[in-house]
Symmetry: C2
Subunit: 357 residues, 2 copies
């Protein structure tokens, strides 16, 4: 089953769906959680690299970018806040998109919302429309295989979510929203090979900024091909295993995906979500056997449950976030998995390195 006019159909749905208070409540929670994570990210060295760049290159504007002295343009604010939202890997997670929806959505929406004096309710409904866009694009793309190959779905799919959300927030019509989504098809990128480096946060920074760019350019007449998502050389063909038309249709027929099981989860620990269940088990083990010492540990996970854990002897705090062994060792030895455990110094603590080796 093929897909026709994906951008137009996503646009129609994103601009027209109404949401109730239960979904809006989750959008409030996601926004608050994301801003908290952004603030938490401010002291990170990788965040400072991005903020330092931005301080030298930020235009005048009316939008708040955390860490900058002056307000700036929507695109630059989305870029900076996007990096901050992702640098800790503490941002919320959606199983349906295999990624972090709010890290892209919230910075883009805060930027465009502050720029245009949007109301809080407009922002929440735009967030929810963006979230549902992510779910539908992920379904049509075949996100599991897309992610398995090495694409960072947070940015590749997040850019569509934020473009749809931003279009709704700015009141674009269906045609212009479809052009913004078509631009997003060309702006989508980000490789999981770059997990554990500055570049991972830049995926989110760039996706949020790309969405703002797409929305603002589409608003003034910028165009994309009408089949940029589903065409033979479009997004599904280039970044996916192909195109799952039935799954796309099914997802388009649902809404308020944040309310579904696996829709949106807030993180417990500031490291890769793939480590969370093992961390839970290790912390429980620590409580049960406190003071007994640790000889060795064996962790079993579901297939693909460790796909993102690409480091096994982390050299930096960022790499530690993507090392299952390191997270489990920290939990078993210290009874916690916290921000202080993901500095460049922390990953070299002798007791933990002993257990890793």
């Amino acid at each position: 089953m093929t897909v026709d006019q994906a951008a137009t159909r996503l646009a129609e749905r994103a601009l027209s769906t109404t949401y109730g208070d239960p979904a809006r409540h989750l959008a409030v929670r996601a926004t608050i959680d994301t801003v908290g994570v952004m603030v938490g990210g401010l002291p990170q060295p990788d965040a400072e690299i991005v903020m330092s760049y931005a301080r030298a290159a930020a235009p005048a504007g009316r939008v708040t970018a955390l860490g900058l002295d002056a307000t700036t343009s929507p695109a630059m604010a989305a870029f900076v806040n996007g990096a901050l939202a992702h640098v800790l890997d503490y941002d919320d997670v959606s199983h349906a998109m295999k990624g972090h929806p709010s890290a892209v959505l919230v910075p883009a929406l805060l930027a465009l919302g502050e720029h245009t004096d949007a109301s809080g309710r407009q922002l929440l409904d735009a967030y929810l429309a963006g979230f549902d866009t992510a779910v539908a694009v992920a379904a049509g793309l075949g996100v599991a295989e897309h992610y398995r190959r090495g694409w960072h779905a947070t940015s590749t799919i997040g850019v569509f979510a934020a473009a749809a959300a931003g279009s709704r927030l700015l009141g674009l019509d269906v045609v212009r929203t479809a052009h913004a989504l078509g631009m997003a098809a060309s702006f989508a990128g980000g490789s999981r090979q770059n997990f554990g480096s500055t570049t991972k946060s830049l995926h989110v920074a760039r996706a949020a900024e790309s969405a703002v760019l797409a929305v603002q350019l589409a608003a003034t007449g910028g165009t994309a091909n009408h089949a940029a998502i589903e065409g033979p050389m479009g997004f599904f063909a280039l970044l996916g295993p192909g195109m799952d038309g039935a799954a796309f249709e099914e997802a388009l027929g649902r809404s308020a995906g944040v309310l579904e099981p696996g829709g949106l989860n807030v993180k417990k620990y500031p490291c890769c979500y793939n480590t969370h269940r093992a961390a839970d088990a290790a912390l429980a083990t620590f409580e049960q056997h406190r003071g007994e010492g640790v000889g060795s540990a064996r962790v079993r996970v579901e297939p693909t449950g460790s796909a993102a854990l690409i480091y096994h002897a982390p050299q930096t705090g960022l790499q530690g976030k993507f090392c299952g062994e390191y997270v489990v060792a920290t939990a078993l030895l210290l009874g916690r998995v916290g921000l202080d455990d993901f500095t460049d110094e922390a990953v070299h603590r002798p007791a933990i390195r002993d257990l890793l080796s």
Copy 2:
């Protein structure tokens, strides 16, 4: 044959190769041609959309962006000038990279060069190092199949070229240049489905801007994974048919690719290079049979020789640039293929539509 440490090896080569005057002469010609094409692009409606965006969002800085009233940051100048360099589809072409090297390289280098008061010779050598980077990345990627699938090699490979060139211009060391190239691996994108729309120029704008961003962030400590290009989830794996290690090695062993046959060609007509040979033939036919009228025309091209010509009934000037039938009809009926033939009005001229139908 696999590739190891692609970013480091590309960086070592890009920073160390010396070039002679014949190659530098071609770099001068490419720079002049590109600036001419940028100036020619200024009146285009799609360029105005980008410049209008930039006028509202350009930071203060010391770099010239055509069409803006004030100088701006390197990234914004690269963005604007990149769009201008590509909007006419009049920019130079390299068979080796299956794309337009100078449209990305020259805007990025002019931006970083003006920002740092680089000399003309530094700029030319950086251009040549960037060009050779493009040739090697294209060879390792398997650019023919990459392009056939629908990737726009101008941006996907151009971002590596400009990141290497910019790193050389700024005097980065090998480690930081490799990080910039690793970031480029995540910033690479652009779908040929978007040919004939505003988004095609944005591919180049974004690639030039991405390269500036990568170079400036790497210069201040930003990191990427060391295997971002050749790793199992890296650029070659995600955007290519795989990885051609032998071709990559062979290309790394050569230099001054601009001097090779098919290295760099300047365009004769402001439309897709795939139309050029047919346009030559049609113009020759016009001269031979001037005044006899045209009943029908049949054009044969080599396999894949019309891959980029995705429109057959163009509705806009931009679409006309990617319509072989339109270009041939224009040449046969008017004896020319010029800028005025690619406006939204021109593609609807009755005599030409008659021949197309």
